[in-house]
Amino acid sequence: MATIASSYNPREIDNTNDIPGRRAPLITGNQTYTSVTEMVCRVAEDPQPRIWWILFGFSSLTAVMFLSLIAFLIYKGVGIWGNMSPVFWAWPIVNFVFWVGIGHAGTLISAILFLFRQNWRTSINRAAEAMTIFAVICAGIYPGIHVGRAWLAFWLLPYPSLNLWMWPQFRSPLLWDVFAVGTYASTSLVFWYMGMIPDLATYRDRSKSPFRRMVYSLLCLGWTGSSRHWLVYEKAYTILAALAAPLVLSVHTVVSFDFAVSQLPGWHTTIFPPYFVAGAIFSGFAMVVTLLVPMRKIYKLENLITLRHLDNMNKIILATGSLVGLAYGTEFFMAWYSQNQYESFTFINRAFGPYWWAYWIMVTCNVISPQLFWFKWMRTNVVAMWVVSIFVNIGMWFERFVITVTSLSRDFLPASWGYYNPTMYDGLMFFGSFGVFMTLYLLFCKFLPTIAISEVKGVMAASEHAAHVEAELLGEAHGHGHHGAGH
């Protein structure tokens, strides 16, 4: 039986240490192919723990509240929100950018880390991709209901209407957004689904009830694990990753164009695309940590989603958090260096104007709190990292709030200045969108493979192979005792 790192005691192992000349194991606890299948399938096959039902009850009620509020919004109109001159783009756009940003981590982990051969991605990519899909769903709701007449939102598409007989305006960033977010949502969905096909086949083959077996048979499209299929499958996966990598960078770039292409001080800046992309990766990874820390505990997946995975994610959070901090500083530098009085005013107003509190919450959460990850103790302590990830989520919401609301509330014309106040509906609907997100995520845990089983096994085989080669090179007797394969 093929195993990895059999000489280590899983209880004492610290795979966050990199010992020179020896690869740290990606998964711990003497795992075999059988045990990996067992561990992942158990999540869906065993009765869900009590905490799942509590969370599901709470979040599905919240989701129902959100849907009812959307119905009320469509009936009553967007006037129930606090959007008012001069802040016409308020929470709906803030929430849209917030959710789209979170939706960047999944495809980034699946695509970019795949292209860079970061094998540790295999334990977390499925959950992160699922999170991406659900976050993009939450994001997509907001522009759809913000257009006012939500039943005509399909006019955003190039649709040859007999009534209108006109086409959308392709020189507008808002239309680019429709295409970027639409492409991202659908490509992420097929990427996620394609990745799940082999694991759905595993679920099918382990099903006890005929109904369950039939449903998973249909979902996995009759996957057999044929090597001829695997060859095409892997090629398709590589192509998708190569396509999704620039796509994931383009989406938040296009979202930032919504702001950067306008003339408003604080928005009209070339730094926005990289700044937004860094922020999106930052918030997305924070959300992955927020979700995975409790998930690995509840479903006892600590041997698959190890501290090394969390440590790596925290390093990315530290790097992107510092990038975001650099962007905040650069904005101030450009405001001073350009000697543009409107630009200078906007940034001084951001930090010391009526929304100073939002600005400093943002800086504290986004720039200062991830700096704690310089310490390894913070990076490997699950409670500490969970708290920091929550801070980052809060901070990233405030970043979008600061960008959107402070710039709009005080533009060129002092006569139209105002102070934005959200209404009860703004708050309840934002809270409700978390209900939709969590409901979908919990259903995902219950019914779909939460970890990419076949990919984890593939990496196990690869690292065993690497260890074998390593041992041969070092001339050691590296006892794995597998059958002599003709390498």
Binding site: T37, Q169, P198, T202, D205, I239, L243, L247, A462, A485
Partner: protein
């Protein structure tokens, strides 16, 4: 083989064998066996593994896939689609100017082109993968082996198909046995029926048909006509919570939605209505009761006044056709008919009708408020020739090009323009001519929106000069200019 129990349903003959499958516990054993099978010359082989085993393509002799080329074509199609779409939609079919940006393919086309390239490629790589693999395929003989469930868990299977050129049942069995598999089974055809049971088939058909019903109703309603008012699924802006003039309200104590002018305030344009220069008559010579007259109300804002109801030709058309001659003033007849035909003319129109139809007996001013000098005469001539001469003619006889053509067509609906040299027009005070230009008369529209008051007065001056010229004697010409006149002849 002993574990394999083919379902004995209505099929009397035993299921046919499709090949042999050997089970291995790890990928190394599988690779070894695969090489052995390949070296024996078998090509219709396959391996089934829980994850992609590296080296298996070489060990089985699997050729590389053409998927990348398919995706390349799809990506190019996506790019061209996006470019063509943007060029056609914004550059050809629906061109509109926005911030002076150029039409067609511009740098602004890059984001959408990029996204569609990705979209087409991504879907093609997934659908292409499924198509090249022959998926979805829900019925597969290999699934009849219960051990095969572990192919997606922890076991590795090697399969040799009976359709292979060199296939021989016994020798394949021997070959696979020599690789020491965990188990070796013959794969049997799946005897279970491959067609859908009839109730499912009928049920789905009914569901599809039922699903078409709403679409058919919508299509029928879109294509057909109906006398009934349209359905308002969404009210859009068809019904708005607002009050219109003449409606009642509970907001104000007097119950009226229209509000009187606040005391001590002046509305925009209100000052001009007191000035004969803008009116052609002198409001200070009229009593308050007369000021309440709808005529005066309608004079408050000449620019905003809607000439349509005031110029309604319906009364004129109702009048006997014999009256429609140059000398007739059809609007006069309309005024006389007004009380007799209240249905044809709604109250709102009758209130405004006198402004255009009947010329009220107002205190017209009879002196020009502008100087009768050469500059104004030239201005008046220019404007007359632009705006008036098309109907009234260059000399004012009502023989302009429009009038000539209309007369040649002999249409009943045409009301010929008046000659300016008629006795009653000659007798009109300058203020009344100004009023006619400003408010229109009969079928003549108001020119208040095209001409400033000064230009209108200049036209009045020119019209007066025209009238004088048609009834002048040689005595009217200054002595020193009489010689020029004879030269011109």
């Amino acid at each position: 083989m002993s574990e394999h129990k083919p379902r004995k349903t209505s099929e009397p003959k035993p299921p046919r064998s499709t090949g042999w499958v050997a089970e291995f516990s790890n990928e190394h054993a599988l690779l070894e066996a695969a090489r052995k099978v390949r070296d024996s010359g078998y090509t219709k082989t396959d391996a089934f593994t829980p994850f992609p085993v590296h080296g298996i393509d070489e060990a089985l002799g699997i050729k590389p896939t053409i998927l990348p080329f398919i995706v390349l074509c799809a990506g190019t199609t996506g790019l061209l689609t996006a470019l063509l779409m943007q060029w056609w939609m914004n550059g050809v079919d629906y061109k509109y100017i926005i911030s002076g940006k150029p039409f067609g393919i511009t740098p602004a086309s890059i984001p959408v082109s990029f996204e569609l390239t990705i979209l087409f490629s991504a879907f093609t790589s997934v659908l292409g993968m499924l198509a090249l693999n022959g998926l979805p395929r829900l019925s597969n003989p290999i699934f009849t082996n219960p051990r095969f469930d572990r192919a997606t868990d922890d076991r590795f299977f090697l399969y040799v198909d009976a359709g292979d050129r060199y296939y021989n049942r016994e020798s394949v069995k021997e070959l696979l046995s020599s690789a020491h598999p965990e188990s070796l089974d013959e794969v049997m055809e799946d005897p279970s029926p491959t067609t859908l049971p009839r109730p499912i088939w009928l049920g789905s058909l009914l569901l599809v048909l039922a699903g078409l019903i709403p679409a058919m109703i919508v299509l029928n309603m879109r294509a057909g006509f109906s006398d009934l008012p349209r359905w308002h699924v969404f009210f859009d802006m068809d019904f708005q919570p607002k009050k219109k003039p003449q409606q009642t309200t509970t907001i104000f104590a007097d119950g009226r939605t229209m509000r009187p002018q606040v005391e001590g305030t002046i509305a925009r344009g209100q000052l001009t209505e007191q000035d004969p220069f803008y009116l052609g008559w002198d409001p200070s010579k009229v009593t308050l009761a007369e000021v309440r007259n709808p005529i005066l109300v309608s004079t408050q804002d000449p620019a905003a006044q809607d000439p349509a109801p005031a110029q309604d030709p319906a009364p004129a058309a109702d009048s006997p056709k014999s009256e429609v001659v140059v000398e007739t003033k059809p609007a006069d007849a309309a005024t006389e008919q007004k009380p007799a035909d209240p249905v044809a003319v709604p109250p709102a129109q009758t209130a405004a009708a006198p402004a255009a139809g009947a010329v009220p007996n107002l205190p017209w001013i009879d002196r020009l408020p502008i100087a009768a000098d050469e500059e104004h005469m030239k201005l008046g001539r220019t404007k007359y020739e632009i705006y008036c001469s098309t109907c009234h003619g260059y000399s004012g006889f009502g023989d302009g090009l429009v009038a000539q053509r209309a007369a040649s067509l002999l249409q009943d609906t045409w009301t010929p323009p008046s000659s300016l040299h008629l006795d009653r027009v000659q007798k009109q005070p300058v203020g009344q001519i100004f009023h006619t230009i400003s408010k229109g008369q009969g079928k003549m529209a108001s020119y208040a929106s095209s001409l400033t008051p000064k230009e209108r007065w200049a036209i009045v001056l020119y019209v007066k000069a025209l009238q004088r010229s048609r009834n002048a004697t040689i005595e009217d010409v200054p002595v020193e200019d009489r010689s020029k006149l004879s030269e011109a002849k």
